[in-house]
């Protein structure tokens, strides 16, 4: 539309720095040979990475997080897939109401969901742990997955499904042979992003995990001790790199086969 605007461009560069400096600071200090995160940097070391490797509680927490993340992402993608099909292929009665209800867990403050779940869980006499954490993550991830899948379903030609039905396929085979392959990039994107959300989620796990720590809870427990802190930086650096790669893959998948129509609605 417009040609050039240097002031705005410079502003964008500054904002970009504001966004990235806090993220990049941690990897930089993870190689710094000091307990304190202070400039100037002291010296280069791999010690914190080696220390991280030897923490057995960290391994347990990582394993817990991966377990919860995989279950939460698979289940919420499944639930979201059905819901997305309903919203895009049928004129649902009370559309606004059901749509709003499903999106609600994503919008209302997480701490309220955490409180509600801890209250019902303990009042039923059940033990806190990874099960309520997983349930809460499924609840929290489903809206994200549904938004991703809805935009993917809106993105392809419905007549392909109709053609399949006209050629005599029933609805199961139409789904399996036409809809599913077309949706697959969106489904994988949904799995990846839901996993990242669950893996990173703090407050629900903080309330509900009890002694079964997930990775963010483990990091939280170490933040207070300066001596234990550097290995969290090393862990953080790895998390930042791996999640960035996963998210970029998901972005790329989402737009795969979408032609010119690019989708920016990710996560919103």
């Amino acid at each position: 539309m417009y040609n050039k605007n240097n002031t705005l461009f410079i502003y964008c560069v500054f904002y970009f720095a504001f966004l990235y400096i806090p993220v990049l600071l941690l990897p930089i200090f993870s190689f710094n040979d000091s307990f304190h995160m202070v400039f100037p940097l002291k010296g280069f070391t791999f010690d914190w990475y080696i220390q991280m490797w030897n923490k057995s509680r960290l391994h347990q927490a990582l394993f817990n997080s991966i377990k919860v993340g995989i279950i939460a992402s698979v289940v919420s993608t499944f639930i979201a897939l059905f819901a997305a099909k309903a919203f895009t292929r049928y004129k649902v009665k009370f559309h606004g109401l059901s749509y709003g209800a499903i999106l609600l867990p994503f919008i209302i403050p997480e701490i309220i969901i955490a409180v509600a779940l801890i209250v019902i869980w303990t009042s039923m006499g059940l033990k806190l742990g990874l099960i309520p954490v997983t349930i809460s993550h499924i609840l929290f991830c489903t809206p994200f997955c549904m938004l991703i899948l809805i935009s993917r379903m809106e993105g392809f030609d419905k007549s392909l499904e109709e053609a399949s039905r006209d050629l005599g396929e029933n609805s199961f085979w139409t789904f399996w042979r036409v809809t599913f392959p077309l949706l697959l990039p969106g489904i994988i994107a949904s799995l990846l992003l839901a996993f990242v959300i669950s893996f990173d989620e703090f407050i629900l796990a903080f309330f509900l995990s009890s002694s079964d720590q997930t990775l963010p809870i483990y990091m939280w427990s170490q933040l207070r001790f300066p001596k234990k802190f550097p290995h969290i930086l090393a862990l953080g650096a790895i998390i930042i790199i791996v999640t960035s790669l996963i998210v970029m893959t998901a972005y790329w998948l989402r737009n795969l086969g979408q032609g010119k129509k690019k989708d920016f609605s990710i996560g919103i």
Binding site: F39, K91, I111, L139
Partner: protein, 294 residues
């Protein structure tokens, strides 16, 4: 087709749709609605010992909430902080979304990806990083002292409400950039040309055409940032200090050390009520404003 057959057909379509929706609705009912109802019931109970709760109905916890000034003060502060976070985030990201929508020609997708990528990397670590930036021995202070601009570290950077507002604004930027960008990008460019042809300046065009048309994105961003940040726990805990404590920190201690589940539940109920009222107000005002504009 006569109307009865149509009716049956329609109903069976609804049946199919709701079968597909049922897993999601069951999830919301059992994992959110039911727990919330139990939470509301619990807020009318009394904690009598570490593990025992007296289930007789009482409004005592709400009386506790309103009789101890700290609670209302924390609720008010949570709302105030979220208000400033929303404002700051909108004001700082609008130019960015505007630039990407109107000036960037190639690789818009890349810009969006780069602007939203930090959002996906560990929230906890990003917040912690701000503590490192703003702290007494932090990046800003050590840089300023290293260059000799100050002798003593600036103590006012960390552990206050401003630190909470900046950190939250950084954490939620992606949630403003996306809706703003989407609504700005949708604007029909010929409307802007028409505005110039009618003799409007760039500023007038922005104020009379572009900005009103971007309002849906602005409202989306307001709701999606304001509502969740009212209940944020991590940021006030890590960078807020006593001055930046929010209601969530109090709620967490009621479920932890203070061990008063009913009072914690009552606080959560009041937080939710406040948030709903404000969200309804924002939606109502926007409807009025957009009706007047059109």
């Amino acid at each position: 087709m006569n109307s009865t057959i149509q009716n049956i057909y329609f109903r069976s379509d609804q049946a199919k749709a709701y079968t597909l929706l049922s897993p999601a609705l069951i999830l919301v009912i059992f994992a959110m609605a039911a727990p919330m109802i139990v939470m509301i019931f619990t807020s009318f109970n009394t904690q009598i010992s570490m593990i025992e709760i007296d289930r007789t109905f009482t409004t005592g916890r709400y009386e506790d909430f309103f009789s101890k000034p700290i609670f209302s003060m924390l609720l008010f502060r949570s709302v105030k902080i979220s208000f400033f976070v929303t404002l700051l985030t909108l004001v700082t990201t609008y130019p960015l979304a505007y630039y990407i929508a109107f000036y960037v020609k190639k690789n818009k997708m890349l810009w969006i990806v780069l602007m939203t990528l930090p959002f996906w990397t560990s929230y906890l670590l990003r917040v912690f990083s701000w503590r490192v930036i703003l702290g007494n021995k932090g990046v800003i202070n050590s840089a300023l002292m290293g260059t000799g601009m100050i002798d003593e570290p600036l103590g006012f950077l960390l552990y206050n409400q401003a630190a909470v507002i900046i950190t939250l604004s950084h954490a939620w930027a992606a949630f403003a950039i996306l809706p703003l960008y989407v609504s700005l990008d949708k604007i029909d460019k010929s409307l802007l040309e028409a505005s110039y042809d009618l003799g409007n300046t760039k500023f007038e065009t922005f104020w009379r055409v572009t900005f009103p048309l971007s309002l849906p994105g602005v409202i989306g961003a307001i709701l999606i940032i304001f509502i969740p940040t009212v209940g944020d726990y991590v940021t006030p805990q890590l960078v807020g200090g006593t001055d930046g404590r929010m209601l969530s920190n109090m709620i967490q201690s009621l479920f932890g050390r203070a061990n008063n589940f009913p009072l914690g539940a009552a606080s959560a109920v009041l937080m939710l009520t406040t948030v709903c009222l404000i969200a309804a107000l924002v939606t109502y005002i926007t409807k009025k404003v957009s009706m007047r504009m059109s």
